[in-house]
């Protein structure tokens, strides 16, 4: 018996080692460097809490936090609701539903870099198809990614479109786990489709919603690729996110210690937000 256990531990040992080296060690290394001035090339110099104090005074960091939360608030509720709606449609037995499911999942498997370049074209103020469509509908042409008031929204739209397929698939699995007899019983009792959705589907989907919401929110707080490709954090830092700032400070300005301090702060923020989310949503989660 214990030979089998040792064999089991031996099997998980490579994964544990991988986790230790590539996940656990970097986290503690980042914590260590956050208390030092470290430029990769020179030896670290102890600074104590200086960087954490400086962060309180760093207007760009505060702006980045604001933008990050705004982005999460723009994308997560809308993206979650849209994913549920698409899952409800995809859950029907009708001709072409497989194509529909595949079509909405395609953006998920496409590289974010490739997708970003395509959307650069779509959002192009002079030639972009979106502005041409707006003009056809009699709406004013917008500068999209070039205007501080619309740049973050433009990235949010792209992100929702990119991620909706993934969450749709998760909701689809959740929907297919709801027993059919509940709907039949409700129909017999005279419940309308809205009532069946509200009193059966939504409560029984709550574990799925909980998962989607929390994971989506954590992902949204780490937005980087879209800002990097599309706007470089501009215009006027309107799309500057915390992860973008961490990358700039770490790899462009070689302020590794400062970047590490920012990453620790982000880690704490995500942990707090996730805890709050789990407490709030879990309250309504039915199992």
């Amino acid at each position: 018996m214990h030979k089998q256990r040792y064999a089991a531990y031996l099997f998980v040992l490579p994964s544990l080692m991988f986790l230790a080296v590539f996940v656990v060690y970097p986290i503690f290394a980042a914590l260590y460097f956050s208390f030092h001035r470290y430029t990769l090339i020179e030896a670290p110099v102890w600074l104590g809490l200086d960087y954490y104090v400086n962060l309180l005074d760093d207007k760009r960091f505060m702006k980045a936090i604001g933008n990050t939360f705004l982005f999460a608030l723009m994308t997560v509720p809308v993206g979650t609701a849209l994913a549920l709606l698409l899952a409800l449609v995809a859950n029907r037995t009708m001709r072409g539903v497989m194509f529909f499911r595949a079509a909405y999942y395609m953006p998920v498997v496409t590289s974010f870099v490739a997708v970003s370049f395509i959307w650069l074209w779509i959002y192009e103020p002079q030639f972009g198809v979106l502005n041409d469509l707006f003009e056809m509908l009699g709406l004013p042409r917008l500068f999209w990614l070039r205007d501080p008031s619309t740049a973050l929204l433009s990235i949010a739209i792209l992100s929702i479109w990119k991620n909706v397929g993934y969450n749709m698939v998760i909701y689809l699995a959740g929907l297919q786990g709801i027993p059919e007899h509940l709907y039949e019983a409700a129909k017999i009792d005279g419940a309308s489709s809205m009532q069946r959705f509200r009193f059966i589907t939504v409560p029984l989907l709550s574990p799925t919603t909980f998962f989607v919401f929390v994971v989506y929110f954590i992902g949204a707080l780490q937005m980087f690729v879209q800002a990097w490709i599309l706007t470089q954090g501009g215009p006027l830092d309107s799309t500057l996110t915390v992860v973008y700032l961490i990358y700039s400070n770490g790899f462009e300005y070689l302020k590794m210690g400062y970047a590490a301090a920012m990453s620790m702060v982000l880690f704490c923020i995500i942990a707090i937000v996730t805890y709050v989310n789990t407490r709030v949503i879990r309250y309504d989660t039915y199992y």
Partner: protein, 467 residues
């Protein structure tokens, strides 16, 4: 009897915590000390006057002992080339294969893009795995010595027969505190006035008389702009809206106003001055007078430049933009003319010099130097370094031999090098440039007044220099 051994959840968590503790101890251990880094070099004294044309007399060199003869002996050399297109890669691969056979060395080429090159190099330097030879951009000569990345080349350069063939401005650019830290291979400048002949004629302007002053540029621009309501069909001027590019464009205006962004010693920013105000106000006025939208006409889509797309009538720009038109919009290219930079108090434009560095900790510095010399030969450098992107020559032999300089547009741009002034680069310039650009952007977008933007610019740059 079998002994029942079980691992409880507590024990497993304890084991994981132990792993984490071990990792923490490893992280808290004294990191291996990197090779001692020389003190950050203060920048070379800037050229106070525009650069001369190619040096007519050789620079003075002390007689030096011959450099140790470098032999191949199977040395392995890693060469990193940035931003090289596939056709030029083909040429480079073939040339390197021949070089390897001739010299008995093994040169491996690593191609990368400019965007990620700096991060790759600095992490390579930190890990001791940087390539033996790497390309660097316009600011790298100030940054690399401070980061311990580049080998000083004076010993090699003293024996380099072609060194005097390099233009003085190029030699100055790569000389930090009297020491040569790199070998130039390509120049660039973005202050060359580039305009459309047919649009000039349509606006009633004489294409043979391009603008020479700021005021003329705005007068011409006002006539050239074509709008449909709020939409710019064709702009009368253009700005590249990304902060680092805005900073560079501002720097050209600042030099033309007779100012500079640093003092002579490059210890203090000098943007919040009458010259800075004049320069930035003029940039803002191009937008306020409706000659160009505040976001510029370019959208950031690769290879879709607004000038090539026929959306810009006149703009200061890189020679690479003209090449872009040649490649993708032949009618625009045929219609393009170029002119000298504008003048306010001084007729000047900034020169950007790209260069080859040898890694300070290269195990084969002599062989690397031999390769750099070979790469710098005009017949090779013209193909790899210049022609793909329409860069500028950094030596007379390239200016005389490369076919692209026979193009009349490029001939004017090469002649413009006489107005060239090297950048006032500092070791922290990768931080300084975007910081300056953000303030220029704020003024252009109307988020700050010019005065406030310049005050904040100097405050931010001072903070960076002190950090």
């Amino acid at each position: 009897m079998n002994r029942h051994v079980s691992l409880t959840r507590r024990e497993l968590l304890g084991a994981l915590a132990g792993l984490g503790g071990a990792a923490l101890l490893a992280a808290c251990g004294t990191p291996s000390r990197p090779t001692e880094v020389p003190k950050p070099a203060s920048a070379a004294k800037p050229a106070d006057k525009p650069a001369d044309k190619p040096a007519d007399k050789p620079a003075e060199t002390k007689p030096a002992a011959a450099a140790p003869a470098a032999s191949g002996t199977g040395a392995k050399i890693l060469l990193r080339l940035n931003g090289i297109s596939p056709p030029i890669q083909e040429f480079a691969n073939k040339w390197i294969a021949d070089y390897n056979k001739e010299k008995g060395v093994t040169v491996e080429i690593d191609y990368t893009d400019w965007g990620s090159s700096f991060q790759k190099i600095t992490t390579g330097i930190a890990g001791g795995t940087a390539p033996d030879i790497f390309m660097g951009g316009g600011l790298w000569h100030a940054v690399m010595p401070a980061r311990g990345g580049s080998l000083e080349l004076d010993g090699y350069v003293k024996n380099m027969k072609d060194w005097n063939d390099y233009f003085e401005v190029a030699r100055q650019d790569v000389t930090i505190q009297g020491k040569v830290v790199a070998i130039p291979y390509r120049g660039n400048s973005r202050g060359n006035i580039t305009y459309r002949k047919s649009l000039f004629e349509k606006a009633g302007l004489d294409p043979k008389k391009p603008p020479t002053t700021w005021e003329e540029a705005q007068q011409y621009g006002a006539k050239l702009v074509q709008k449909q309501g709020d939409r710019f069909e064709v702009s009368g001027w253009n700005f590249d809206p990304a902060p680092p590019d805005l900073s560079q464009q501002y720097e050209d205006f600042l030099f033309q106003a007779g100012g500079g962004y640093f003092n002579e010693e490059r210890t203090r920013p000098t943007n919040n001055t009458a010259e800075g105000e004049e320069a930035l106000s003029t940039m803002v006025s191009f937008v306020q007078k409706g000659l160009v939208p505040k976001a510029g006409m370019d959208s950031g889509v690769p290879n879709l430049q607004a000038y090539s797309a026929g959306k810009v009538a006149m703009t200061p720009t890189w020679p690479g933009f003209i090449n872009n038109a040649r490649l993708f919009a032949q009618p625009v290219f045929e219609d393009t003319l170029t002119a000298p930079p504008l003048k306010k108090k001084v007729q000047v434009l900034q020169l950007y010099i790209d260069k080859y560095f040898i890694f300070r900790r290269s195990k084969v510095p002599d062989q690397a130097w031999q390769l750099v010399e070979a790469l710098s030969a005009p017949e090779v450098n013209n193909r790899i370094g210049i022609e793909a992107d329409w860069g500028l020559p950094v030596r007379k032999a390239s200016a005389d031999s490369s076919p692209i300089y026979k193009d009349p547009r490029m001939a004017v741009i090469v002649d413009n090098m006489k107005y060239g002034r090297i950048r006032q680069a500092v070791a922290q310039h990768f931080d300084v440039q975007p910081a300056m650009g953000r303030e220029v952007e704020a003024a252009m977008q109307g988020a700050k007044t010019v005065k406030q933007a310049l005050q904040d610019m100097d405050a931010e740059v001072t903070k960076i220099l002190k950090s």
